[in-house]
Assembly symmetry: C2
Homo-oligomer: 226 residues x 2
DNA sequence: AGGTGTGAATTATTTCACAGCG
DNA sequence: CGCTGTGAAATAATTCACACCT
């Protein structure tokens, strides 16, 4: 596999969600058009996305839902469980640890760390918050596949460096700062303040937008994702 | 202003964060190259992004930090306060309500709602969680600029419809489902499970080209959103 | 020299449109 | 027929490269 766009992978994730939904509803097959409508894209986009990985449909019929879901799960690497460590046991870390969407998809939270002594030792469901000072040692003993970083911006890069040195290959970052990782490590960042700022931008520029030019409705304002 | 890409707006948000940091550090000016390095892009990208809105720099010198920050704040609509209502008082809603990054940028949480009677009436810092059944009425009495939706996927679209009918023009969605809004309403979705799935994809395909690059955040591996 | 602003070139992503198969 | 799979065309986003200012 060589050059799959990030946007394509994100859409596969959306398709999978809908396939599971339709499967639960008892449907057997689905067309690219139906899938597109559910996911907020176009049928051509759906077919193109899938075509990067193979031919999973039947002409004239559509896609077998169970089969396609299985294929996408394989593509996304969701057939196995991934072990996740959460670094930062504040509110965001706690919310993530309890997020049902993670467990549903096979992401298993196996450890939590925090530098704040008042948080260390607290129980979180089945696990105990550990001291972030021990991060390197604990990771060495038991390396997770993925680390979720939910700490303030200030110490974030230093923690990333520790994670990377320990051998973590994938990091999901919630700290509001750009971070740097070496090649071979995948970093994905989510910044909620930035999302709000794009809304602020849209609100501030409302009205200047599509009035005059009669914008194509499909394109207009809504950003769908999932 | 017509056709500014979403990616450009997101980067402005990043630049702003660094400008404020450098300003606090006492710097007066900064070059597109330095800003790019901090933000994980290229200098050409920085200049291009800014050029959509005007010429803010001085040739041979760079950008005045205070001035550029002010310009970007104006572009993003951050000169005023935005009133935010949080719908869904679960862990994610609570984490968002307390997120310092929101208040820092002028996003003021003015109300919280939940349908669960056991949550209604709880105090959250200064505010009290209200009954989601009264959402329409309460919004009619006091309309926020932005709604943050932190509820399960199931009821999400119905709530969006209520929000839109009440006149909310911008929604930040954390429910793991695509939502539809009419033209004129801006919807932005964040899906944390999906972010983890792109990491899963990267891990599953590690070794093949495209797993590691890390540094030019905008490009190869790391996606900055924050 | 040093660094911005920007058209032109390049690269990435989406959409079209249609051949081909069940 | 209906609907997939996919090259080719169209758009969008990024990078180049250089004229031009200080």
């Amino acid at each position: 596999m060589k050059p799959i766009a990030d946007s394509t992978v994100r859409r596969l994730s959306i398709y999978l969600r809908f396939l599971e939904e339709r499967l639960a509803a008892g449907d057997e097959t689905i067309s690219s058009d139906a899938l597109a409508r559910l996911g907020g894209t176009t049928s051509a986009q759906v077919r193109k996305d899938l075509s990067f990985f193979g031919s999973f449909g039947t002409r004239g019929l559509g896609y077998g839902i169970a089969d396609l879901a299985e294929r996408i799960r394989a593509i996304l690497g969701l057939e196995r469980e991934w072990r996740v460590a959460i670094v930062g046991a504040g509110k965001i870390g706690a919310a993530l640890a309890g997020y049902p969407g993670f467990a549903q998809r096979g992401f298993h939270v196996v450890a939590a760390f925090d530098a704040d002594p008042s948080k260390v030792g607290k129980r979180w469901g089945g696990l105990v918050v550990r001291d972030a000072n021990r991060l390197a040692a604990d990771l060495a003993a038991d390396l997770p596949d993925i680390a979720v970083l939910a700490v303030p911006a200030e110490g974030a890069q230093a923690l990333v460096d520790v994670l990377v040195a320990a051998g973590v290959r994938a990091i999901l970052n919630f700290a509001p700062t750009p971070l740097h990782v070496p090649a071979g490590v995948t970093l994905k960042s989510v910044n909620m303040a930035m999302e709000l700022e794009t809304l602020s931008y849209a609100l501030a520029h409302a009205g200047a937008k599509g009035s005059g030019a009669g914008q194509p409705a499909a394109k207009s304002r809504s950003t769908r994702r999932a």
